[in-house]
């Protein structure tokens, strides 16, 4: 049986790698469709044809797109991320510090929102139909239905404008104490937690409700098992796969959320870098950021799938 699990996990990993290849291919070609010649844009209107041709050659722009794609992929794998068009700095240098910042923001958010949202999701599923469940459901649908920037601006209005607890949209760069650090992270983390939690609650609730309606749960009920025993011993272990899957999918909303939240709070992360790169049309930087985000997302999904495979009792 263990070799079966191993082969399934291996298959998942292969699919993940293939998907990442297709995605990076799509990202590369989407950004290569740009009308106009990059070398001409970089050098400006006054450039001589010789200079343009020279730059084109230096940037390998005169090679077929497939070759450029392979060169780019090889660079990504070996850690050579290329050079930013806008300020001529190595992309790895631009990204490294900001990558840590974004991971911090995402990590803290995940640490807070996962236990919080799992508790709400599972309890509202168990207490389905009660007032508590309805309040939770209405709130989550409300948060899911509105854009992230509305959640963020509402948080600013409440905590900064009316209550004056936290600074508004400005971002503090000097951190002198733990208090400063807390103030710095409070607003982005609170907003992101709301956005991500709503997704987790909704999906977890659906997964647990589905498990609770299976025949073996009914069987447990009929043989007289207590409510808590049914939930903790019978339903939850089986709902683990779907819940982890829901978690991974919800954390992908973290990526969309991070893009908006880093912009609105001026947080020096990788998403803000990418939005700025889109504004300046800095293609190599956009490509690299996009692939980093997609890879992050795929890693999450793949881990979730593997946990689902391992936790499936029928495979053990």
């Amino acid at each position: 049986m263990n070799s079966e699990i191993a082969s399934m996990i291996g298959k998942r990993l292969v699919i993940a790698v293939i998907t990442l290849l297709i995605v990076s291919f799509a990202v590369f070609f989407a950004t290569s469709m740009l009308p106009g010649d990059t070398a001409t844009i970089l050098l400006g209107q006054a450039a001589t044809p010789d200079a343009v041709a020279g730059l084109r050659h230096a940037m390998h722009l005169d090679e077929p797109a497939v070759l450029r794609f392979l060169r780019w992929i090889a660079g990504l794998v070996t850690g050579d991320l290329g050079t930013s068009y806008a300020n001529n700095m190595p992309i790895s240098k631009l990204i490294s510090a900001r990558f840590v910042n974004t991971m911090e923001l995402a990590g803290i958010t995940a640490l807070i929102s996962i236990p919080f949202a799992l508790t709400l999701g599972i309890t509202s599923a168990v207490m389905r139909g009660t007032l508590y469940d309805r309040i939770v459901t209405v709130l989550t649908i409300g948060v899911i239905s509105v854009p992230e920037f509305m959640v963020a601006s509402t948080a600013v209005l409440i905590f900064a404008v009316y209550l004056k607890w936290l600074p508004a949209i400005s971002f503090v760069n000097e951190v002198h104490s733990l208090y400063d650090l807390l103030r710095m992270y409070a607003m982005p983390v609170v907003t992101l937690t709301f956005v991500v939690s709503a997704q987790i609650i909704r999906m977890t609730r659906a997964a647990v409700i589905e498990t609770l309606s299976t025949p073996y749960v009914e069987m447990a009920l009929l043989k007289g098992a207590s409510r808590s025993r049914i939930v903790l011993r019978h339903a939850l272990p089986n709902a683990l796969g779907p819940i982890v899957n829901a978690l991974a999918l919800s954390l992908s909303y973290l990526i969309g959320g991070v893009i908006i939240i880093e912009t609105i709070f001026n947080y020096p992360g990788i998403a803000k870098l990418m939005v700025d790169a889109v504004a300046t049309r800095d293609l190599p930087l956009i490509q690299t950021c996009a692939v980093i985000f997609c890879a992050g997302y795929l890693i999450l999904i793949t881990i979730a799938d593997i946990i689902a495979i391992i936790s499936n009792p029928r495979l053990r």
Binding site: L157, I259, I260
Partner: protein, 284 residues
Amino acid sequence: MMQSAPSTSAAPGIFGYTFSLVGILAFAVILFWAVVALFAPQIAPYPIGKIVDMDYFGPMSSKLWLGSDYLGRDMLSRIIFGARYTLGIALAGVLIASSSGVILGMAAAVVGGWFDTALSRFMDAMISIPSKLFGLVVVAAVGSSLPSLILTLAFIYTPGSYRFARALAVNVNTMDFITVARIRGENTLYLAISEILPNIIRPVLADFGIRFVFIVLLLSGLSFLGLGVQPPLADWGALVHENIQGLSFGSAAVIAPSIAIASLTISVNLLIDNLPRKIRDRSA
């Protein structure tokens, strides 16, 4: 198809009534925004570009119902015109996304084989790109003119629509009447349009509504980042973007467009949730 009693049998009396009331209210809000978008020039009290207030971020008053924006323009008029862009772009985008998704999904189900496998694998890979990220990449590549925005949004949401329609179509495809039609010698086009489409159209329409909400949210998000609808035009997301400095004064110029977006998206969600069960139920 069998004609069944309305789904109120499970929840009779006042419960069923309040449920449909929510649906009616939601529909009224959607209708309201549609009318506003259609007749914007007739409804708006001031021209959108006209500076009517000496002060910027002016307060709400009897002359300027929603105050003024960062240049002293009337916010109410700008929101009324913004409805045109938000609703128009999102509707065009979702029409293209859903129709191409459904056509490709039915084709994959009917044709099957390597065509189905290759298309599904490709669409699955596309789905695994987070939508906002996808939007950023494509906008960076093709720019944010109105037609390219519509096509970008349509392109991003086609894979989801495809997967949904394909899952439904594959189920229908195994039914006996399809086998009969195949034996009768009907061609693929007939199978898709006359046999499968009528059986999946209602869940597909519910999915259409959900996808419309996704597109409104993504469009607003892109515009909020300054990468969607470009000035001098402004949809609701762009209105929030250009007035974001007013947030620290608690200006209506930031809040009102956000509320407009929320009222639209929540209404569409509520309307779909309150459709009769037979229409809403879906397998995926």
